[in-house]
């Protein structure tokens, strides 16, 4: 067993950038990204032995990051954040493009936060981290077919929640059907501090 700094160099050092990017892509907000990274590091610290002994520590750490980012998304839903992503925009994009992208990202992240934890983590690991199903199954502690199922179900659910993005149709103006958001209900229900 190495010293603490050795362990950092061995476990975290090589994937620092991936950890940060992974959290950022899911969370998309500087403050929440910081909080999520801090939580991920705390989780790694608490489970250091498990991480050290895991057959694929890198994948496990990335899963912890995805978990923390997913929690950040859920928390944001619960504190009634309608505009999920706070974007630091690409300077080359026009204001209109930036606004459109930010809105689309916010919608996607909102939808991701509605997936179950396993589905959200699986689809993020697959589609954003380009991890193999074998790695995903190892980190989720399930079989490879199950990992495939999680990813497929997540995509199907996202497709149901975001049909207009698939069809490239303009966004519906009447948003009455998407307003059943428990996080919003809570925001207006101060007497019920449930979530």
């Amino acid at each position: 067993m190495g010293t603490g700094s050795d362990e950092y160099g061995r476990l975290i050092g090589p994937i620092e950038s991936r950890m940060m990017r992974s959290i950022w892509r899911i969370v998309g907000d500087p403050h929440d990204a910081e909080d999520a990274l801090q939580e991920a590091l705390a989780a790694i610290w608490k489970s250091l032995r498990r991480v050290q002994e895991h057959p694929n520590p890198e994948a496990l750490i990335l899963k912890m990051c995805a978990n923390a980012a997913y929690d950040a998304l859920r928390r944001r839903r619960r504190r009634a954040a309608v505009g999920l992503a706070v974007d630091i925009e690409d300077a080359s994009a026009s204001p209109a493009e930036s606004a459109l992208r930010a809105e689309r990202r916010a919608e996607i992240l909102e939808a991701v936060s509605r997936l179950s934890r396993k589905q959200a983590v699986a689809v993020m690991m697959r589609d954003l981290e380009d991890m193999s199903y074998e790695d995903i199954s190892q980190t989720l502690g399930c079989s490879e077919p199950t990992a495939r199922t999680h990813v497929a179900r997540a995509r199907t659910r996202l497709a149901t929640l975001l049909p207009h993005l698939l069809d490239h149709r303009p966004k519906k103006e009447n948003r009455c059907e998407e307003s059943d958001r428990p996080e919003l209900r809570d925001a207006f229900s101060p007497e019920r501090e449930l979530r």
Binding site: V86, L158, C176, E178
Partner: protein
């Protein structure tokens, strides 16, 4: 209809296109600060923690190193959060939070006030990661390992000890953990101004969440936490004489009973004892004792008039809920969209649920599924969703976007509402909130799709007052009409005797 495989791969492209983006340098800098602090922490604590599982070494010199190293790096990060509009008070709060979070030990006096109970004063010691000792005068002490969920009670007078598992008493509060988890964003903290305690002028901060209100009193000059009050239900726990990172005799927190003490099979209600000893705890109610993990337990409430909920470590305990609220929780739907075709059971209920082991993080998902199952089992409630023509309020903007709906000044804090101030919110936010007052669904047909800053203050909460305020202050009209919307139909429910 799309082929599912095409749809699947298209969704992958959508995710990649929209979420796969570069980390901005300023965000990377912040995150690297966090990583650097963590590296320092690992270096400082060394291999002891790594090889010893979750428990960090409790040797003093290592604490000093860990605290010093982590603090020097983290301080910058924490202060960074307050760079906008900071003042002395915010900095004092940040410094205190930093000190508390970095602390490996803490000692304090805890006074507990609960209705119908005499004031109880305890001397408490906390050691990271999860040890707590509470001394009740010279009579005895309780030592709790939250990590192992074990408890040792020492009776000094009788020289006896009792060992118990905490599984039956999950609502123990580690008050130092509560302090550590206080929010670090000032927008979530209410400033209470100055107040004098024992001739000392202190600055107050208050924050609420999950049924707990925490009030901190900080010395702004010394940047020290002097007093912390936690209001949990009707119980108040006040921490005073606080000291952090003080040397602690480890043997005092050992779960091994001292020599000469004999084991006692006690009839003491451990739950109640711990509730007192920990300052603000609540035991699992007798009705829920023995409820297996993953199973929802619902029983008639013991007379509370309003809802109150606590959630901790994979467990959920709510008091005073009516069946309609339970349905809303179980199906994640707002009240006006629940159509009741069969009368619901009356009265208030308490609810207890414990997530299956290993699934504590998925408490809500498991809770909702179990609640639906129990609603069906206990109350015979079955439901389905369908589209129905319902009476709703249709929200329109006859004059287009009113001047009151301003472009957001800032989007950095996301969307939120503080009192009458709405910041960076879309009208979906407003629409949803109005439903609670109007008791009907609101359908947004304004065509206004942006996010706005605005103020909305109503004189009263009647539908008429709300409709008038929305029109006068925001230029939005709410008209009662009929529309086809998704609803949850409660088909059947049996009433309780």
């Amino acid at each position: 209809m799309k082929n599912p495989t095409d749809q699947n791969s298209e969704m992958r492209s959508v995710l990649k296109e929209n979420l796969d983006r570069q980390l901005p340098p300023e965000v990377e800098q912040r995150l690297r600060g966090r990583l650097a602090a963590f590296r320092q922490q690992m270096r400082a604590v060394g291999s002891t923690a790594a090889s010893g599982g979750h428990r960090v070494s409790v040797r003093r010199w290592r604490w000093a190193l860990a605290v010093g190293a982590a603090a020097s790096v983290l301080l910058v990060g924490v202060f960074h959060l307050f760079r906008q509009g900071e003042d002395g008070a915010a900095l004092a709060y940040a410094a205190v939070l930093q000190q508390v979070r970095a602390a490996q030990t803490a000692t304090c006096q805890v006074s507990v006030e609960a209705p119908g109970q005499p004031l109880q004063t305890l001397r408490c010691t906390f050691v990271e990661p999860a040890l707590m000792r509470c001394d009740v005068g010279d009579a005895g002490a309780a030592i709790i390992d939250f990590g192992k969920k074990e408890l040792l009670i020492l009776d000094r007078t009788a020289q006896t000890f009792t060992v118990a598992q905490l599984d039956g008493v999950p609502y123990i509060d580690n008050l130092v953990e509560r302090l550590k988890s206080l929010p670090d964003r000032m927008k979530e903290v209410e400033s209470l101004g100055q107040r004098t305690f024992d001739g000392r002028s202190l600055t107050g901060f208050r924050t609420s969440g999950k049924g707990v209100t925490a009030t901190l009193w900080v010395d702004p000059q010394a940047k020290e936490l002097i007093r912390a009050e936690f209001q949990i239900g009707k119980t108040t726990a006040t921490m005073t004489n606080l000291a952090f990172d003080v040397p602690v005799d480890e043997s005092l927190l050992s779960l091994e009973p001292p020599q000469g003490y004999t084991r006692q099979e006690t009839k003491v209600n451990i739950a109640e004892l711990i509730a007192g000893a920990s300052g603000a705890a609540r035991a699992v109610p007798p009705e829920a004792q023995g409820t297996p993990a993953g199973i929802m337990k619902i029983w008639p409430s013991r007379g509370l008039s309003g809802p109150n909920m606590r959630m901790m470590a994979g467990e959920y305990y709510a008091e005073g809920y009516d069946v309609l609220h339970m349905i809303q929780d179980a199906y994640f739907i707002s009240g006006p969209r629940v159509v009741i075709e069969s009368p619901l059971p009356k009265g208030l209920y308490d609810v207890y649920f414990k997530a299956p082991e290993g699934h504590e993080a998925e408490l809500w998902e498991a809770h909702n599924a179990a609640l639906r199952a129990e609603l069906e089992k206990q109350f015979g409630i079955t439901a389905h969703t369908e589209k129905r023509e319902m009476e709703v309020y249709v929200m329109t903007a006859p004059g287009g976007r009113a001047a009151a709906l301003r472009d957001p000044e800032s989007t950095i804090h996301g969307s939120y509402c503080e009192g009458s101030k709405y910041r960076n919110v879309g009208l979906g936010f407003l629409e949803y909130g109005l439903q609670g007052y109007l008791k009907k669904s609101v359908v947004d047909e304004t065509g206004l799709t942006g996010h706005y800053d605005f103020e909305l203050a109503c004189k009263g909460t009647s539908p008429e007052a709300v409709v008038a305020a929305v029109q006068e202050q925001l230029g939005l009209k709410l008209t009662p009409e009929k529309r086809l919307i998704d609803v949850l139909v409660i088909e059947q429910a049996k009433t309780q005797k």
